[in-house]
């Protein structure tokens, strides 16, 4: 039995609109997906006001997506996700046990043969996406992390150290619209930007890397642990495909492997696939947004 930990997460999002919203559509990624590393015991999304339509679905990446429609005027929207989940420690992955990065690149690239199913699935996360355009700057930046013959996980961890070292964690310096290239130029950002930059570097080397959205454990009051940035908010990190070990999750914002402290909501190619809440409103004027996350370990 691997070590495990039980969490209760409460994620509260409140929009206060400047005027009445006449009609709106919302898309939520607020339900944790099950995986070998975690099992969701219960979850509920409470909405105020109640939507005129609600549908829960599974998206092509396997995430639970909730779609809402409001067709009556409202000037406030409150979304509360309550989650009870068990997280298990991922199996120890020895970097030396992963293939050389060039071998991974060659195996993932098309060569006119039948691909292995898990390789084909990984290929979804290997190409450019809206937030992660693959530029030469990323290839160059990752150069020293990817010397010939290095195991892919060792290279990825080295890259994570480098990004953590070189980029400043600076809330407010970027927005949710900031692309990997913009954050790279600014040399600063938040967890979303760290993850995008790392994904861009990995993909520029031909690796498969996905964006993981989730939460980070909050420490009990009075105990501060300055090394864990991103607590009390939603968090994001990266998973990299390291055959034959499989996917290994790395948190470049905190320079750690994701483990017992990380609760996964959803994954996709970048933030755009899994943003916790996005919507299009008719009317409403300027809005104020408040987000509160609490993560309690049992």
């Amino acid at each position: 039995m691997s070590e495990s930990r039980r969490y209760r997460v409460r994620h509260e999002t409140v929009y206060s609109y400047g005027g009445n919203v006449a009609h709106s559509h919302q898309l939520l990624h607020l339900t944790p997906r099950d995986s070998p590393d975690q099992t969701c015991r219960s979850h509920a999304i409470t909405l105020s006001p109640a939507p005129s339509e609600r549908r829960d679905d599974v998206d092509p990446f396997g995430n639970v997506v909730t779609r809402l429609e409001y067709d009556r005027p409202h000037d406030r929207l409150e979304v509360v996700a309550a989650i009870d989940i068990e997280v298990r420690a991922p199996p120890a992955a020895d970097p030396a046990g992963s293939q050389a990065w060039e071998a991974v690149r060659a195996e993932l690239a098309y060569a006119g043969r039948v691909p292995q199913p898990d390789h084909l699935r990984a290929c979804r996360f290997r190409m450019e996406s809206a937030y992660v355009r693959v530029k030469q700057i990323f290839t160059d930046y990752a150069e020293d992390c990817f010397p010939p013959g290095r195991p892919v996980l060792a290279a990825a961890e080295d890259l994570m150290h480098k990004i953590h070292r070189d980029f400043a964690y600076a809330p407010g310096a970027t927005t949710i619209k900031t692309s990997a290239a913009e954050a790279f130029d600014a040399r600063r950002g938040v967890c979303q930007d760290f993850a995008h930059i790392m994904i861009a570097c990995l993909r520029s080397r031909g690796m498969a890397a996905r964006y993981v959205s989730g939460y980070l454990r909050t420490l009990p009051a009075g105990i501060s642990d300055a090394s864990l940035v991103g607590a009390d908010a939603s968090h994001a990190w990266v998973a990299v495909f390291c055959p034959p070990l499989g996917w290994v999750a790395l948190d470049p914002t905190n320079d750690v492997r994701a483990g017992l402290d990380h609760i996964t909501l959803a994954w996709g190619r970048d933030f755009g696939d899994v943003s916790p809440l996005r919507g299009v409103l008719v009317g409403g004027g300027r809005h104020r947004l408040s987000v509160r996350v609490s993560v309690q370990a049992e």
């Binding site: 005129s52 429609e69 098309y110 949710i176 996005r278 299009v280 409103l281």
Partner: protein, 813 residues
Amino acid sequence: MAETRLDTYASDASRYDELLDDAGDVRPHWRPLIERLAGDGAESVRRGADLARRLITENGVTYNVYADPQGRDRPWVLDPLPLLLTAAEWREIELGVEQRARLLDALLADLYGPQQLLSAGLVPPELPFGHPNFLWPCHGISVPGNRWLHVHAVDMSRSADGTWWALADRTQTPSGPGYALENRHIVTRIFPELYDDLGVRPLGGFFVALRENLLRHAAEGESPLAVVLTPGSFNETYFEHAYLARQLGLPLVEGHDLTVRGDTLFLKTLGGLRRVHAVLRRLDDDFCDPVELRADSALGVPGLIGAVRAGKVAIANALGSGVLESAAWMGFMPAISERLLGEKLRLPSVATWWCGETPALEYVIENIERLVIKPTFPNQRFDAVFGRDLDATAKTALVDRLRARPHAYVAQERLAFSQAPVWRTSSPQGFAARAFGIRVYAIATPAGYRVMPGGLARIASDAAVDVVSMQRGGGSKDVWILAPDRRSIDESGAAAAATRAPARHDDLPSSLAESLFWLGRYGERCEAKARLLRATLGVRAHDSLWPHAADICRHFGAMSKSGEAEIQLFDESNPLGLRADLQRLGWCAAQARSRLSAENWRAVGVLQREFQEAAATVGDAREALDRMLLSLAALAGFALDDMTQDDGWRLMMLGRRLERLQFLAELLGLRLASGAAPNQGELEWLLDIGDSTITYRTRYLASPRLGATVDLLVFDQSNPRALAFQWQAIDHSLLRVAASLGGTPDDTLDPAVALVQEMEPVAIEGDSTRAERARQTLGERLGELAAAAGLLSDRLSLKHFSMIDAELRMVAA
């Protein structure tokens, strides 16, 4: 003898020649055309070329936006000589294109469904997954009839040995079928007899089939509604969107005209929400739904993918179909065809190497001299380059680029396009040889894909150039497919008449109704201001009249606070000035373009041009105003005689009447409210503005008197300029609009009109205090009538156009 026209036509041994065979003789199927043109010399072609140019200008056929003040619009270029293809040649193309459409449809179904081609290793995952038009939110969706590709276009060219090759596929929103139809209309007007004699297959049936394909998606018992979705009038092919909508008899709409409620798509019409069953879209894939696709797109319809997912609407072409627009697919087509159709690929693609495979990359680098290098994906910043055009440094740089990201590049063999005769208008006039490519269209029908018997030939701008592109200044040609025998011509031409289905009033999008309403208001407002300015410039020498008249002009914004009328006329910065109103008029006309006849649209263009010319030349402003008033009168004439008189038209006329009433009531009210009696010069000035000088003279045969002037301008129901004429017409229109939408009008001008009608025109004449008070009262009541007209306009907007939403806002957390 026939060949004498051809002395300017040069053969090129490296190309296939459509006109001449290897011996230099005219091919048999071209002979009737060449002989005919030789008959009366070059003259008929020259006249034909002139006619084509004129028709294109008159019909407003443009490749870019017309209403743009910077003149970004570019007239469509059409060569008068058609390209002729025999029935046998065409049969091969037709079979090839039909199969290709079927194949790409099946490929889309696989990519957005089981992805078995990827699992089988027949297709590189890099191609769909790296393509910006591969839309993951559409994966797993089932579309009506499993039909993904409704309209397909293939760009083709012919190599030196006479073989046709596919160069590119257009699977997203293939442009051009409307231009092809317009080309046909123009060329058949140039050569009507030739067209009949040669036995050319008609195009009309293709558009009937397209319309039917869209309308058959309605559920049992519902009246079907399909729309053409455009990104708007600033799109480069907006002309075609409007043209197609008109030809197909479908409403032309923008994203904000549509709304998704629950899982159903609706059009916001004058009569309320109406369910939409099919959308022929000209909006790019990722702009279509800001909820699930590009969040920064205000052009799309929030929730559209939800309606598609629920199977409630057919989108032509399916969202995400742009993923096939990449040259990289070409090399994989034969194997895909074997796998998905069990058929050998009929139409060969030009030799293509996708550099993502190592052997292909090495071959490309080895042979770069004779290849064209292109980007794999449309969002790359890389223009196609010819390897042979590069110097050593550039070549090394390119090779480095290929090695760094091989999957992002494709190489193709250069194809020497075949050449055909065009008419050269510059000296020496005559036939000239130009390389060309054709775009061929197929549409889905319940019986399979149907290929348009014709197409769009695009010609290179220069004899030796093998790039055909409208953006690069090439021209176009009509493509005539010669029928195998006379009988087969009737296949579908008879049905073409049915294409122009009557527009139903309940299909009228609210936003179009609003544009028409404001088109009416601005047309009238421009006229009122131009009249006011012209009349005022005429009284400039009148020391007693001029300051007051100029004040009135300032009140209406026709002049700004200081300065001369001439200067104000052309002042761009004055937001209330004539120039600004003309721009608004042009904008409304552009929005309503799908409802305006070619002549009407042209008149709007003429007006804009006249104004620009007037602004550019220093001359008498009154002359410029004269010209403008003439053009504005033409616009008013089109409004009366040239439009279907449905609710949209009624709202436009309401706009005109309301504007006229409001302006004149306000003008007279302003003048009378002071109580002072206007002098004779002022009365003449007022009659001039009210366009009633001649009426007055013929009726009274005397110099103007106040009572008679007011009677003519306010109370005379037979004077189409009088207020009474307007309020009657407004009443009538309100009743008609309300009745057709099933109701009674909520608002009228009646109370304000009644107060004006209480007044006696004779009572305001004279110097008595009583007359002065009567003038004041009438002035005030006219002012109130003007205000009531403004209020009515606002309430009409609220009632009929309120479904036009405020701007969309995107939020994310």
